[in-house]
């Protein structure tokens, strides 16, 4: 492997890991509620911005990170309680539009509470790049990739090994049946909003040292994360992760080997090609159709 290839690979994996985390957040909420939560990018923004401002106010990094995750979870729960829950009888499309409104509101509040400037955070393990077989990588990239891996593992364990996780899966499979066996669907939905907010916030605070942050970084991330979800298959956690990584790698490889002018186009072409062959996305076939 040439050092150039490794450089592109690391870049693609880092960016892809972030898309994967955003996509995972989409998936959790979609599974519990059929809603595609377009405020997912805002959770990422809150994660980055609150960490930056809490750290600037003198909090040590772990506490600032905890404050950021807490703020995002509270925002997620409020979004569910104040916007989604009151409209629970409405069609998913209506709820999706509500989340877009929620995203705009959160972005607006962030503009006032914080500011409109870009902010940075020092790397958790310094900013001195390390040499990986000829590729030059900032240590923060390992935090992002490792953090994403740990979260994916925890989420998988949560769904497969805990009663609560299974309750979420049951709600996803059939809401009425879940209610009949005594699962409080409303609690499950609140839980999924809280969890996906936490995942988003962790993604946000992990990437800020690399990508910088501002009140409006969420828009682009939500778009790319959503593309990853569609590519991987709506509703599949494995698909979300695969979709995110593929999208990130496509962008980096296209920028490296084809042309940086067309890197987004290449990523989206791959997506269209996959969807033509597999209309439900890479991992979508296993998903049960609900009528």
């Amino acid at each position: 492997m040439s050092p150039e290839f490794l450089q592109f690979l690391m870049s693609g994996l880092t960016v892809g890991a972030v898309y994967a985390l955003v996509a995972l957040g989409f998936t959790m909420i979609y599974n519990a509620s059929d809603v595609i939560n377009f405020a997912q990018g805002e959770f990422v923004m809150i994660g980055g911005m609150v960490t930056v401002f809490a750290a600037a106010a003198g909090l040590p990094l772990p506490l600032a990170a905890a404050a950021a995750i807490t703020s995002a979870v509270v925002t997620g729960l409020l979004l569910h309680r104040l916007a989604i829950e009151p409209a629970r009888g409405a069609a998913p499309v209506v709820l999706i539009i509500i989340t877009i409104g929620g995203a705009l509101l959160i972005r607006g509040i962030a503009q006032v509470v914080f500011d409109k400037q870009f902010h940075k955070l020092p790397g958790f393990s310094g900013d001195q790049p390390v040499n990986v077989f000829g590729a030059s990588v900032v240590p923060q990239a390992f935090w992002v990739i490792g953090g994403a891996a740990v979260i994916v593992l925890l989420v998988t364990l949560f769904f497969e090994r805990t009663l609560l996780g299974r309750a979420v899966l049951a709600t996803a499979a059939n809401r009425l049946a879940a209610q009949l066996v005594g699962i409080d669907v409303s609690v499950v939905m609140a839980l999924s909003f809280g969890l996906s907010a936490a995942i988003g916030a962790i993604a946000g605070l992990l990437i800020t040292p690399i990508t910088l942050t501002s009140y409006d970084v969420g828009t682009m991330l939500a778009l790319k994360g959503f593309a990853a979800v569609v590519l991987g298959g709506l509703g599949s956690a494995a698909g979300a992760v695969a979709g995110g990584l593929i999208l990130g790698l496509c962008e980096a490889m296209a920028a490296g080997y084809i042309s940086s002018s067309y890197k987004d186009a290449v990523a989206f072409l791959v997506m269209i090609a996959v969807l033509l062959v597999m209309p439900r996305g890479l991992f979508g076939a296993a998903h049960v159709e609900r009528v």
Partner: protein, 233 residues
């Protein structure tokens, strides 16, 4: 004009093979086009050209390709946070050729975002950024220093050239109204007659054909040293 200033500096340093990495936003694109128009006149060859989207978060693939072409200098026409990420990625990849940014990053925020990586970056910008470092003989010294003081006292943040441009524009307009009254036509004519107006961005000499009124000497070549602006010459 920014390109000409950069190319002039490159020529002085005998750097003739350059690479460009441009933002695809309006500013980056139009400056890139200007650069490609004038590079031959300065005997400068562009050996590699890359792009990045205004919201991109990682430019290492593009810079890896640039590194492979061994340019003697790299120019980054861009605006906003993109150039800060380019600068950080540039140092991450261990590129050592001089890096030129544009007046699109002429605010302290760029230095803050790029951090250590910003040191050594050169850019053409208005004298305002180095108001306190201008020689006393410089005709802009007083205007720039007064504006810088007023701005930092009021806004409690470091000056950027962007606010300076608005200030110059307002002063030119005010001057035109004072001379000719508030009739739209005379305002226009008086603005076009503005000569020798000393602003934060340079000394303006307007004509009916030239509505910018600045010459190449209005740009100072700055270098970022120890996290602050310094005059490169």
């Amino acid at each position: 004009m920014a390109c000409e200033k950069i190319f002039e500096d490159l020529k002085k340093r005998n750097l003739t093979k350059i690479a460009m990495i441009s933002g695809t936003d309006g500013f980056g694109k139009s400056m890139r086009d200007e650069c490609v128009k004038v590079n031959a006149r300065f005997g400068i060859e562009i050996v590699a050209e890359e792009n990045y989207g205004p919201r991109d978060t990682d430019m290492t693939p593009q810079l890896t390709n640039i590194r492979g072409k061994n340019p003697q200098a790299v120019v980054n026409p861009g605006f906003g946070q993109g150039p800060a990420i380019v600068t950080r990625n540039y140092r991450q990849l261990g590129l050592t050729a001089p890096l030129y940014q544009s007046h699109g990053v002429a605010s302290k925020q760029f230095i803050e975002l790029a951090g250590e990586a910003a040191n050594g970056v050169r850019l053409p910008a208005a004298a305002l950024l180095v108001a306190d470092k201008l020689p006393d003989s410089d005709p802009q010294k007083k205007v720039a220093a007064d504006y810088a003081k007023k701005f930092t006292d009021t806004a409690k943040q470091p000056v950027s050239t962007f606010g300076g441009h608005a200030y110059d524009g307002l002063m030119i307009l005010a001057g035109a109204i004072q001379r000719g009254g508030a009739d739209p036509k005379t305002i226009r004519d008086e603005i076009e007659r503005t000569k020798g107006f000393v602003g934060t961005a340079g000394i303006f000499n307007m004509t009916p054909a030239d509505h910018m009124g600045l010459g190449l000497e209005a740009f100072k070549m700055l270098e970022i040293k120890g996290g602050d602006w310094a005059l490169a010459e």
